[in-house]
């Protein structure tokens, strides 16, 4: 039984490496992105084999799904906004090529040496986390680490998402959109059929995170898919007047997270030291609001440009300071 799983592991590992090579060497950029999506899904499968289902869910939903959608959208923009003559890439001198190859080879060798020399199979933080689980307020170790023991990291992670959406709105200010492709009636029907189901799945993932694999990031990414479907099927078209609501949704998660962290300091506690009897409620509250923020932010990152009226792009930019 063990042997068949080793064969499976080896085949999967070879497939993952082969897909990585293929996505780097294929000439057609669309094919490269599709190969990358398949690569990401197979990596997620490998991570399930390494008993990391939470990470596999996050990689499949965010690292592959949302990233793939972002890449395809950008490819569509680059191919639609045509340039007259793309400049020929300059030939790379032989010396530079050799230096690059040597650099990559050395770095990889160093990594391999570090990996071979590192102790495997622990001990890591397993025992510390297991000891502290009873005071975390949740039953699932990864959620306990993310939302309680290392909550600072997670807060900063939400801040990074917020920074990303602010940066994207600034970068694309006044940029005209490539015309969105028309996807037809079958697609509309598909969107209408799947939208409610995705909402249920996203909420379920969020809810189940306190006791089983899942949580705010996986649930948020699945809910972001709702946003993507709505945008692609044009059931929802962002309007300039919606920017206020969008900004509130962007900041909601960060704000609530920081507020809870600071408010629990009353009574001589440290920031993020939730009182035990309320720990589960507080964690679920933070997770719920963070999920909303993640979903809206990821959908906004996909949409890109801040929804402003385009004709007045040159003038009339006053009063548009981002939150």
């Amino acid at each position: 039984m063990i042997d068949t799983m080793v064969i499976f592991d080896l085949l999967l590992a070879v497939a993952v490496v082969a897909l990585a090579v293929a996505s780097m060497t294929t000439r057609d950029m669309f094919a490269a992105i599709v190969l990358f999506v398949v690569f990401g899904l197979l990596s997620a499968l490998a991570w399930v084999r390494l008993s990391a289902p939470d990470v596999a869910l996050a990689e499949a939903a965010i690292g592959t799904g949302v990233t793939g959608a972002l890449l395809l959208r950008t490819l569509h923009h680059v191919q639609t906004v045509e340039r007259k003559a793309a400049p020929e890439p300059l030939p790379v001198p032989m010396g530079v090529q050799i230096a690059n190859a040597a650099f990559c080879g050395l770095l990889t060798l160093g990594l391999a040496a570090a990996f071979a020399g590192a102790p495997r199979g622990g001990p890591g933080f397993d025992l510390l986390v297991a000891d502290a689980m009873s005071i975390s307020g949740v039953d699932h170790p990864v959620t306990a680490v993310l939302l309680n023991f290392r909550a600072y990291d997670t807060l900063m992670e939400v801040v990074v998402l917020l920074a990303a959406v602010i940066a994207v709105w600034q970068i694309e200010r006044g940029l005209s959109d490539a015309p969105a492709p028309a996807l037809g009636e079958v697609w509309q029907g598909f969107a209408r059929l799947t939208l409610p189901a995705i909402v249920v799945v996203g909420t379920y993932l969020l809810w189940v995170g306190s006791s089983a694999p899942g949580g705010a990031f996986q649930g948020g990414a699945v809910l972001a898919a709702v946003g993507l479907l709505l945008l692609l099927s044009r059931l929802y078209v962002p309007r300039p007047s919606h920017r206020g609501a969008a900004r509130v949704a962007f900041v909601l998660g960060t704000g609530a997270f920081a507020a809870v962290a600071l408010l629990v300091t009353g009574g001589g506690r440290m920031p993020f030291e939730y009182p035990l009897e309320h720990a589960k409620t507080l964690i679920l509250l933070i997770e719920g609001l963070v999920t909303i923020s993640i979903a809206v932010t990821l959908a906004a990152l996909f949409h890109g440009r801040e929804p402003v009226a385009l004709p007045e792009r040159a003038a009339g930019t006053g009063g548009r300071d981002d939150a």
């Binding site: 037809g184 079958v186 697609w187 799947t194 189901a197």
Partner: protein, 98 residues
């Protein structure tokens, strides 16, 4: 091995055969429409057989329902995707002809 496990294993193996057939079709058929034909037909059936086999092995009724739901949405999504690919290919062919 119980008879149930045996039946489930046979269903999953049969499903895998259909997947292989579909993959061979994608690699061997000449144009995009033939390839889509091979892929959607063979993989749809293969997926159904695999889902049936896994469903027989599932521990709880809840898990069976989830497997059925996964099967349903994968079928709907793959049908929609194939439609979109075929539609795009047809439009491009029309554009190139005119």
């Amino acid at each position: 091995m119980t008879p149930l496990e045996l039946i489930a294993g046979a269903l999953i193996a049969l499903g895998a055969v259909f997947f292989i057939a579909g993959t061979v079709g994608v690699l061997r058929f000449p144009d995009i429409f033939c390839r889509l034909h091979a892929l959607t037909k063979a993989d749809g059936l293969g997926l159904g057989l695999v889902a049936l086999g896994v469903g027989l092995l599932a521990a709880s009724p809840g898990a069976v329902v989830r497997i059925a739901l996964v099967w349903f949405f994968v079928v709907v999504a793959s049908a929609t995707c194939s439609h979109l690919i075929a539609r795009h290919a047809l439009e491009r062919a029309r554009r190139e002809r005119s």
